[in-house]
């Protein structure tokens, strides 16, 4: 009887750990998000860009984009809350918009064309994956395996 209870207790404990791990996998996924403020041709139409975009996340300014510029922010979780300060034309009125961008799980780097997003285009139009250019420096990195080490170094 007792062993059954112990077993049950352990099972519950393991399940809780697995559940926490699953939650962490979801809420801890990190993304690097790149914001583009560039013109976009989509299905024959060309979408114009605003003159200036200022992007805030969590009250902090992360990028100020003029036409044709790109900004970057890091984000943890499945979606990104943004506050955009949009100036359509030079000297024109500023307009504040709050948006929540869903981010795909399996992309490390996400490129978002904000002007396209703001004009309610579908996801495939404004969102694409950022593929880092692999810069091979040429020199093969040697693996340094310390021998029967003498614990030199910091602690």
């Amino acid at each position: 009887m007792k062993s059954k209870r112990v077993f049950l207790f352990r099972l519950v404990f393991i399940l809780v750990l697995v559940a926490v791990a699953a939650v962490m996998l979801v809420i801890g996924r990190g993304h690097t998000v790149y914001f583009d403020n560039v013109e976009l041709d989509y299905q024959g139409t060309t979408y114009e860009t605003p003159y200036k975009l200022v992007i805030y996340t969590g009250g902090e300014e992360v990028a100020k984009l003029y036409d044709g510029e790109r900004g970057m922010a890091t984000c943890i979780g499945q979606s990104l809350d943004l506050t955009l300060e949009i100036t359509q034309e030079k000297g024109g009125e500023e307009e504040l918009v709050s948006v929540t961008l869903p981010l795909p799980y399996n992309m490390d780097g996400v490129v978002i064309n904000l002007s396209a997003y703001l004009q309610d285009l579908p996801e495939e139009a404004y969102l694409s994956e950022f593929v880092p250019v692999v810069t091979e420096t040429g020199d093969e990195e040697d693996v340094v395996i310390p021998g029967d080490d003498m614990m030199m170094g910091d602690f």
Binding site: I145, D148, M150, M152
Partner: protein, 357 residues
């Protein structure tokens, strides 16, 4: 009926052999054999390989031999080899500092290392006599302490020979000192048997080792030697028969330390360089693992154990990089070395038959 009986007998003979030889040793020997068989297929020159193994054997054998006296007197595996090595390093560097060159520098290195080895050995032995039962852990840390202490000393001692100190500051010994013009290949160069253009069997070193091994063997068969073995195998019996246990242990420690000092000098003359600072630490584990692979245990060791073990261990160390590299294009030799040497030590430590003293 008869048939099965012989089968049984054969089986038991096999079992006894396995028991005596030990499974890990069998695996290691089999692995080495496999390496030798594979060597020609992957394009490695077998003569060169065997020559390399013999050479490396000649460098290391005396160091491995240095463990024997302490194992015999019951002090266990001497992880404090660095103590003797440090004595040898002091001898070698002082000999060069005093201006000796050529073969004379080797003789003087041995002469100068001796007082250091004896003094350190006496101190070390006295310490080990106070802590019977906990030797191995303490020898490990005594070894590590002396290496790190000497690291400071190599920087601070007033050496001035331009071949050894840093060029710019003029003080502090360099980590690696070339022995060219001093005792480089001084033993190996005696009557070498050439194998290929730049490889030969170091007859002189092998004879030197044989001489030392014979001396140890002879010593172990003298009255003092048997008394030492008695102390190791059964201390209370030894005490009852009037042997001074502490004196025997002290003698064995001094012998081990002195042999280790000679051992490092032999290693250096083969290798061609003196390595200072943390380098001596890298010799401890290979040395201890070698004697264990050769069939020694924590309280039993013989000269054949030394020879077989050094050949097996150095064989694996030299063969794995070449053979595995050309076979699977991966250099796994370092990992294999770590796993084999430490695995062997673990095996020896966990053998139930050798329980507590």
């Amino acid at each position: 009926m008869e048939h099965s009986a012989t089968l049984d007998a054969r089986k038991s003979v096999f079992a006894v052999m396995l028991q005596r030889f030990g499974l890990p040793r069998l695996i290691i020997a089999g692995f080495l054999l496999l390496l030798f068989i594979m060597a020609p297929f992957v394009g490695a020159n077998l003569t060169v390989q065997i020559g390399n193994v013999i050479n490396r054997f000649s460098w290391n054998a005396v160091l491995v031999l240095s463990l024997v006296p302490m194992i015999h007197s019951g002090c266990g595996l001497n992880f404090g080899v660095p103590l003797g090595i440090v004595a040898g390093l002091l001898g070698g560097t002082i000999s060069i500092q005093l201006g000796f060159t050529g073969p004379m520098s080797f003789v003087m290195a041995i002469v100068l290392a001796t007082p250091f080895a004896v003094l350190m050995g006496i101190g070390y032995g006295a310490l080990l006599n106070r802590i019977k039962g906990g030797e191995m852990m303490i020898t490990t840390y005594v070894g590590l302490s002396i290496i790190s202490f000497m690291c400071m000393m190599w920087l601070l001692l007033p050496y001035s020979s331009p071949t050894m100190v840093y060029g710019l500051s003029g003080t502090g010994l360099r980590p690696t000192i070339s022995l060219e013009g001093f005792y480089d290949k001084v033993l190996a160069g005696i009557l070498p048997i050439p194998l290929t253009e730049d490889l030969s069997i170091p007859t002189g070193t092998l004879v030197f080792f044989a001489l030392l091994a014979f001396l140890i063997w002879a010593f172990l068969h003298t009255k003092t030697g048997t008394a030492m073995t008695a102390v190791g195998s059964n201390p209370s019996f030894a005490r009852a028969s009037g042997i001074n246990v502490n004196k025997m242990r002290l003698l064995s420690v001094v012998m081990s330390t002195w042999l280790a000092a000679i051992g490092i000098l032999v290693y250096q003359q083969g290798f061609g360089f003196i390595q200072l600072y943390t380098a001596p630490n890298n010799l401890t584990l290979p040395t201890v693992a070698a004697i264990l692979i050769g069939g020694a245990s924590i309280n039993k060791a013989s000269i054949p154990n030394v020879i077989i073990g050094t050949i097996l261990f150095q064989g694996i160390v030299t063969m794995t990089p070449t053979v595995l590299n050309s076979m699977i294009h991966m250099d796994m030799s370092e990992v294999i070395r770590i796993v084999v040497s430490n695995g062997m030590i673990l095996y020896a430590l966990t053998r139930k038959t050798e329980g507590l003293r």
